[in-house]
Amino acid sequence: MDSDIRRMAIKDAKVLMVGAGGIGCELLKTLALSGFQDIHIIDMDTIEVSNLNRQFLFRKSHMGLSKAKVARDAVLKFRPHINITSYHANVKDAEFNVEFFKQFNVVLNGLDNLDARRHVNRLCLASNVPLVESGTTGFLGQVTVHIKGKTECYECQTKPTPKTYPVCTITSTPSKFVHCIVWAKELLFAKLFGDKNQANDLNVHSKDGDSTNHKEDVFERSSEENFDEYCCRIYDHVFGYNIEVALTNEETWRRRKKPTPIFIRDVLPKIKTKKNGILFENGSVSALPSVGLKNPQEIWSIAENTNVFLEALKLFFEQRKKEIGNLTFDKDDQLAVEFVTAAANIRASSFGIPLHSLFEAKGIAGNIVHAVATTNAIIAGLIVIEAIKVLQDVNNNYRMTYCVEHPIRKMLLMPVEPFEPNKSCYVCSETPLLLEINTRSTKLKDFVEKIVKNKLGMTSPLIMIGSTLIYEVGDDLEEDIAANYTRNLEKVLFELPAPVTHGTILNVEDLLQELSCNINIKHREEFDEEKEPDGMVLSGWTSQVDKDRTTSSSTEPQIKDNNVIISKSEEVFRNKRKLSEISKSDEAATGKEIDLNDDDDDDLVLLDEDPGHSNKMRKLR
């Protein structure tokens, strides 16, 4: 019978799972129960407390241990006679090359970020192994099947860009709470506790972009200043003085509501010196107890925010001195979250923006993806069903399935036929790309960073012009060759050993991903700083415009949060928080941008870097 045929296909299969998080735990369990005998699982993460509400193979006692390893051990308890091989490693590591991938019959993704998804997609294409891809956020999820030559690859469609905000919105004219969060974590937090050498636009620009006094040492504590004095001075500087300076730029405020400078004397007429913060259970420091706050759902008053700000600042200097200079914001760092919440709220108050609770601020600052166990369980079940079809080689029966919150034509699980490969996809077809660039002023370094790494998503690229190798990444390069490449990076394109000029064809290849593409160079002198901030434009890859792409009666499908792509149905989006913000960020994307991309621990990334090439393409579907 059917179930016997199924059993045979499953028994002989060797599968690779990438990701042992929310989807991964469910998937590993379902694979084992379904009779899979040989499962390999890769995950670089370790277990954290916020995983435990859905990653059911993990316990509190496992915190800090490898997800892949603990998941393996947990599943072997109820299915001891199967083989599970775990790797506590990054799937992008060189050991997971095409040869490695070739040993599997199917690859199953339960990943949380676009970068890794793209990488696995390429390895699956290069090794000709079918890929079942998945993602969830809240009650939404999807499963897709990617088989070389038969269905579209993961990168045949453009993916959403990261939420980015123009620098001036962040530094001078915030209008939403998220702008204040970005300011607090990317600028203020980075300035105070991060790498001092990083360029940082913290000071509000006054007329003609003239920074306030250029008095960089305002953030340095002088020897005769005690911590309390220092913290108050920083407060007055960033929330008071900087706003006052900004107000002098009348042009800015002609059509905007003017912000109110906030000085400590207005908020806390009588400052008391407080006790030290207390140590949390897991050793992290918190400023909350000493200022008498505990409920993370509560919105603090401006005075409370001020107290938290001062206390947190002081605690950083007193108790985490060693880390200062190397810190970046981390959503699991309690004190950092408190500091950012308080700073964002004080700034919000200045600009007449509603304040938010620590819980909400943490979600925004950490780009935390909503996640529940049930959606992951459903998606994992669907992955296994598709994987079995792949193994049975049931032609034309693959489905991509959307899991929705509100029924669409009575359905909560909505299967759709997979799409054909996009003929102009540079990843799965051999279509050349076109790059407009100023070959007389652009350095190879910029090309490598902005195009090869950021746009094409390559990790170990090799660049050839004709038969001349001009750049390569690798650990085993000889010293003089490596030095030569380093020199090349600093050269302008047309000065390279094989000059790049109008009409040159560059070949860029990633040896690990076994992806190669040709780029036709078109020389162009001028670029619009606002619209083309990279100073170069890559094109030639258009997403399929497919009439029957939509699955519901409505017309304009959209790419949402992360990897969850769902045709637009009002019902689907009614409850979808933040969607409007995401699409609006497109419009706002002018000038320099601050990248808000930040991986979450789980399930889905938020927004990804732009794998596509021009803004207009993004709209397409």
């Binding site: 059917d2 469910e26 369990k29 509400n53 316990r59 109820f78 369980a377 299967p415």
Partner: protein, 334 residues
């Protein structure tokens, strides 16, 4: 509140503890603090441990309900283990321990804040009062008669007890929901809150709805399940005790039922009946994961009062990949 009250100490009822906030962070971001609090005060009973109900139990324990009570007298058999991940296979002697007792231990491990216990006995031996302890009762692996009796008991209590049944037969699964008269609030597009009222029929009344009065495109699985159910009932078979050899009897029954219901027999294809018969009581783990996930979500919705519940049947079929809601009730005359 159940046992977690002692754990959480003297905190105000309105606040979640720091421990709860940390553990439930990601899901509170989905359904909010109030829903989480209501969830932590709900008491659920599951009778019949199958692959699908094991999945369900895992989901609601992780979500942080107040308590879960299991009932299943069966001893561990190979069949009982085929889709169940709650029982370790490490060579321990299960002795005379029931399935319910064994599953209890694993579930407790999933979330120490939830009180998980088991009750010995058979579902039918308990009188109505027993069900007052619960906010929802889930029945798996049971005959249609048992389902009807328990559903009636749940309906006749002073405080309504939500009632669910769940069946997974290899390639597909079915969920039945009875929330009686259910009221919940819902945010509208403009941000205001409206009250929604829904009226559910009992399982007996739902099944009794004449087939020709059903909406046009009811899934064929609905009819196939009713034929199989009837077959099991009138032939004295236990749940899932069917095989392909029953096909000719089933086809006679189909003819009979379709004639009396004035439904074209093509609505219940032979192939489909064959598939259901061959499945018997076997479960396919991915289907259990999907059905157990959906049921978990439904119970969470009902217990937290948040989200539109399914009315009143749900089907997932791995053959076409659809997860479909069917409303099987007599439309209220307007």
């Amino acid at each position: 509140m159940g046992s977690d009250e002692c754990e959480s100490g003297g905190h105000k009822a309105e606040e979640l503890t720091a421990q709860e906030t940390a553990l439930y962070d990601r899901q509170i971001r989905v359904w909010g603090v109030d829903a989480q609090r209501r969830l932590s005060k709900s008491h659920i009973m599951v009778s019949g441990i199958t692959g699908a109900t094991a999945e369900f139990c895992k989901n609601i324990v992780l979500a942080g309900i107040g308590s879960l009570t299991l009932m299943d007298q069966q001893l561990v058999t190979e069949e009982a283990l085929q889709a169940n991940f709650l029982i370790p296979l490490d060579g321990t002697d299960y002795g005379e321990k029931s399935l319910a007792e064994l599953c209890c231990n694993s579930l407790r491990d999933f979330n120490p804040m939830v009180q998980v216990s088991f009750v010995s006995g058979n579902l039918l031996q308990f009188d109505g009062e027993f069900f007052d302890k619960f906010d929802a009762v889930i029945v798996g692996h049971s005959s249609s008669t048992t389902k009807k009796i328990i559903n009636e008991k749940c309906r006749n209590r002073p405080k309504p007890v939500a009632f669910y049944t769940v069946d997974c037969r290899d390639s597909f699964g079915e969920i039945f929901v009875d929330l009686q008269n259910y009221t919940y609030s819902k945010k509208t597009k403009d941000g205001s809150t409206t009250k929604c009222c829904m009226t559910y029929p009992s399982i007996e009344d739902a099944i009794a709805v004449p087939w020709k009065e059903l909406p046009k495109r009811v899934t064929k699985l609905y009819f196939a399940m009713r034929v199989i159910e009837k077959f099991e009932h009138s032939n004295g078979r236990k749940y899932g005790e069917t095989g392909v050899s029953d096909l000719s009897d089933i086809l006679n029954l189909r003819k009979e039922l379709c004639a009396s219901q004035a439904l074209n027999e093509s609505h219940i294809p032979v192939k489909l009946l064959e598939r259901v018969l061959a499945a018997g009581g076997k479960e396919h783990p991915p289907v259990c994961s999907i059905i157990g996930g959906t049921l978990g979500q439904e119970v969470i919705k009902a217990m937290s009062g948040k989200g539109d519940p399914i009315k009143n049947y749900y089907y997932f079929d791995s053959y076409d990949g659809k997860g479909v809601i069917e409303d099987i009730s007599i439309p209220i005359a307007t």
